[in-house]
């Protein structure tokens, strides 16, 4: 099979993918179109391409990740790149020193693509200023997780045809969530309407100014929505500090069939994973094959990352001397 992208006139005017904030609607459409064609590639026996032959992709994860890291790894390998995974322990050194030091070290290894996850907002952008290669944000603090929003959009688009005019509820820990922010930016840009549903302690200040409707009550928030996006409640935030207890949280904010009944009958259920069953989502709802697209999201994750690597690699310098160390 030929490279899915070659048939289309492609112009992706970005060196890095740092956030959805930087992308226009045509940019997003372009990524999703290309990702769509990669879905087919992934379903074939021979998934190998040579678009990134000779290129080096480094996965640099300052925070643990299973699905994001493995899907970037697979995407890189399927496109023929050499892939190196680096998990940086942040126990010994001060985190920031590790970041800059690591950036300089990595730069000397001359990667072409660098996928970075870091626990601090803005850290990936800072790193992008220090290296010569293309940088992809795989999640920074509570700021952005652009490929997650893109894979969510691809999942929805393949089920519903378009994002335009859909009503989407994002539910749970919005305050700490980079997934929520990237999704809010993307959905707004593509013409969907967004609601956020959470207890007030898990909503950041002035979230309404990001162009979302704010609800504290799940039943109201889910009324007539097309899409229900659940967010993970992080262990350390569960007990006392932000919500009183797991059972109270599940009672008022966990997604079960009763609350889901307010949504449209064909509403899709999404979750970026990993799930806390019985905390933010009832196990049965999560596994409902008619409604839940949670596993499909994982599959779309690889396709979106293939598309992103493909697009960014088109802007990489061909001449080796152009990418000299600073």
């Amino acid at each position: 099979m030929s490279n899915p992208g070659t048939q289309q006139a492609i112009r992706f005017p970005h060196r890095h993918l740092l956030g959805i904030k930087d992308l226009s609607a045509p940019d997003i459409d372009q990524i999703l179109d290309l990702a769509d064609s990669y879905v087919e590639l992934n379903r074939q026996v021979d998934k190998k391409q040579n678009l990134l032959h000779g290129r080096t992709l480094i996965n640099l994860f300052f925070e643990a990740s299973t699905r994001t890291q493995s899907s970037f790894e697979l995407a890189g390998k399927r496109l023929g790149a050499d892939v190196l995974n680096m998990a940086v322990s942040n126990s010994a050194l001060k985190k920031g020193e590790t970041l800059i030091d690591t950036a300089m070290t990595l730069n000397a290894l001359r990667p072409d693509l660098l996928v970075v996850r870091h626990q601090d907002s803005g850290a990936v952008e800072l790193l992008a200023q220090k290296v010569d290669c293309a940088v992809i944000n795989a999640g920074d603090g509570s700021n952005e997780h652009p490929t997650q929003a893109l894979l969510d959009a691809l999942t929805i688009r393949r089920r519903r045809g378009s994002l335009q005019g859909l009503l989407v509820a994002i539910c749970g820990d919005i305050l700490h969530s980079r997934v929520a922010r990237s999704n809010i930016y993307l959905l707004n840009r593509m013409g969907a309407r967004v609601r956020v549903v959470a207890p007030p302690t898990l909503l950041p200040a002035h979230i309404d100014r990001l162009g979302v409707e704010v609800h504290f009550d799940m039943r109201e928030g889910l009324q007539d929505v097309d899409i229900v996006m659940m967010l993970r409640l992080q262990q350390e935030r569960m007990h006392g500090a932000f919500v009183p207890s797991l059972r109270e949280y599940f009672h008022f904010h966990g997604l079960d069939y009763e609350k889901l009944s307010r949504a449209k009958p064909d509403a899709l259920i999404m979750h970026p994973g990993p799930m806390n069953r019985g905390v933010e989502i009832d196990s049965e709802v999560a596994d409902d094959i008619d409604r839940s697209v949670i596993r499909e999201q994982v599959e779309m994750g690889v396709a979106v990352r293939l598309a992103v690597l493909d697009l960014l690699s088109r802007n990489l310098p061909v001449n080796s001397s152009a990418a000299g160390a600073k």
Binding site: K21, D140, R181, A205
Partner: protein, 444 residues
């Protein structure tokens, strides 16, 4: 530019200097007009519109001010120096050089050094180091609590005797209400000024910029206004209980200005300050995680900035400080949440503050009072006025001339100025400390 090689303390002598042809501004008397001034050794002998009708005395050095503004040397009530403990960021010498370049003749140093200035020997150490290494006057503020730990009171009486001009925990609030009450109560007996960093620490925990839409968009933890107003209002109640002199070192929001305005109307013995940066910048300057704009208290909304300017103009805010806080590259080139707070400000204090005058909010004389007469009065220091017997600490500047802040020109050892590459208006021409010229700008 050049800087005199020797410190001001060498040979107090009887050297006469006449400053002629000045626009003399004396905030203490409210005088703003043509003026002449005579100094002998380290003191002002006389000042007035026309001193030398019979000619300048013989053997007198004459300095022609060319119609530029001559005012009391600036007193900066909030300066962090790296000495002792962080000399790679700033020494007393480099800070005093930056001060002289900025027209500042007296700096008040903050106690959060390593070791913390919480002992008479350290107060004396600082004063001794300053005597030999500094171009300008240096007066330490000492820690209000031992080791800045917020647990036990420091030796306020002894350190006051040793020369500490006020007591503060620097960038930490004295959070414990009982301890604060006792500190205020105890300090009142020595007429010592207690300076508070007005921020409720638990409400500000983990915060790195103003809480609001921008912090939300950047995914950063915000610090609400209430962290400041809660601490301020609590402290004002404790001042009512104790009658002590209290100074809120930096206000950052409109609500705080309103609270202080009311407290002053009630006649409480309270005062407050603001940094020049907070009069010129707002949270939008943080932009895309620009750590040079990570300050404490944080830059807030434009409405807050405007209210702070109004507070300076109507006298609610007593002093303008630089909040000079040198941080090296390693401390600032970090993800925003991890980066150190603070910006340098000695060299830009006057020019940035002059923005309030150029924008028509305040007269030049009233503006200068916030950096001369008022801090001198609060701290019980000489200076801040142009009259007989006062120290010959003087600043000569051109209020209208513009300049661009460039990295290479910064004299401070650390270069973390939030005003890098900005146009500012107002250039310091000459800084005189105890009768000796500590800095003179030559290229003008």
């Amino acid at each position: 530019m050049s800087v005199a090689a020797t410190g001001y303390n060498s040979a107090p002598g009887t050297h006469l200097t006449a400053y002629v042809n000045a626009r003399m501004i004396d905030p203490a008397s409210g005088y703003d007009g043509p003026g002449e001034l005579l100094t002998q050794g380290g003191l002002i002998v006389d000042a007035g519109p026309k001193l030398f009708t019979d000619g300048v005395p013989a053997e007198c050095e004459i300095i022609d001010c060319a119609g530029q503004v001559l005012c009391p040397g600036l007193i900066d009530m909030k300066v962090f120096v790296g000495e002792p403990g962080a000399e790679h960021k700033e020494t007393l010498e480099s800070a005093s050089l930056a001060a002289a370049v900025g027209g500042v003749t007296t700096i008040i140093t903050m106690p959060n050094t390593d070791p913390v200035i919480d002992d008479i020997s350290l107060v004396e150490f600082l004063k001794r180091r300053a005597r030999f290494g500094a171009l300008v006057n240096v007066h330490p503020m000492a820690a209000a609590t031992q080791g800045l730990q917020g647990i036990g009171m420091s030796e306020i009486g002894l350190m006051r005797q040793a020369g500490a001009v006020a007591f503060t925990d620097g960038e930490r609030a004295i959070a414990n209400a009982v301890l604060m009450r006792r500190i205020l109560s105890y300090a009142s007996r020595y007429d010592a000024l207690i300076v508070q960093h007005v921020e409720e620490p638990m409400l500000a925990e983990g915060g790195c910029m103003n809480e609001g839409e921008i912090a939300t968009r950047l995914g950063l933890t915000g610090i609400p206004d209430a962290a400041e107003t809660i601490m301020l209002e609590r402290d004002l109640r404790l001042v009512q209980l104790t009658g002590a002199r209290y100074h809120a070192d930096q206000l950052s929001c409109a609500a705080s200005v309103e609270i202080m305005r009311a407290a002053k109307r009630q006649g409480l013995p309270v005062s407050c300050g603001v940094s020049a940066a907070h009069l010129a910048l707002n949270e939008n300057d943080v932009g895309n995680y620009r750590t040079f704009f990570k300050l404490s208290p944080p830059l807030r909304r434009e409405e807050d900035r405007a209210a702070l300017v109004a507070g300076v103009a109507d006298g609610t805010i007593d002093v303008i400080v630089s909040g000079h806080n040198p941080q090296d590259q390693e401390s600032k080139r970090l993800p925003f949440a991890q980066a150190a707070t603070g910006g340098i400000g000695l060299e830009t204090l006057l020019s940035v503050a002059l923005g309030c005058f150029h924008n028509g909010h305040i007269s030049l004389c009233d503006l200068l009072a916030r950096m001369t007469t008022n801090p001198a009065r609060l701290l019980g220091l000489p200076g801040g006025k142009l009259s007989k017997g006062q120290p010959a600490d003087l600043t000569l500047f051109d209020p209208g001339k513009s300049w661009i802040v460039t990295h290479n020109q910064v004299r401070s050892k650390s270069k973390n100025t939030p005003f890098e590459d900005r146009h500012l208006q107002g250039v310091v021409l000459r800084t005189v400390v105890a009768g000796e010229t500590g800095f003179i700008r030559e290229e003008v």
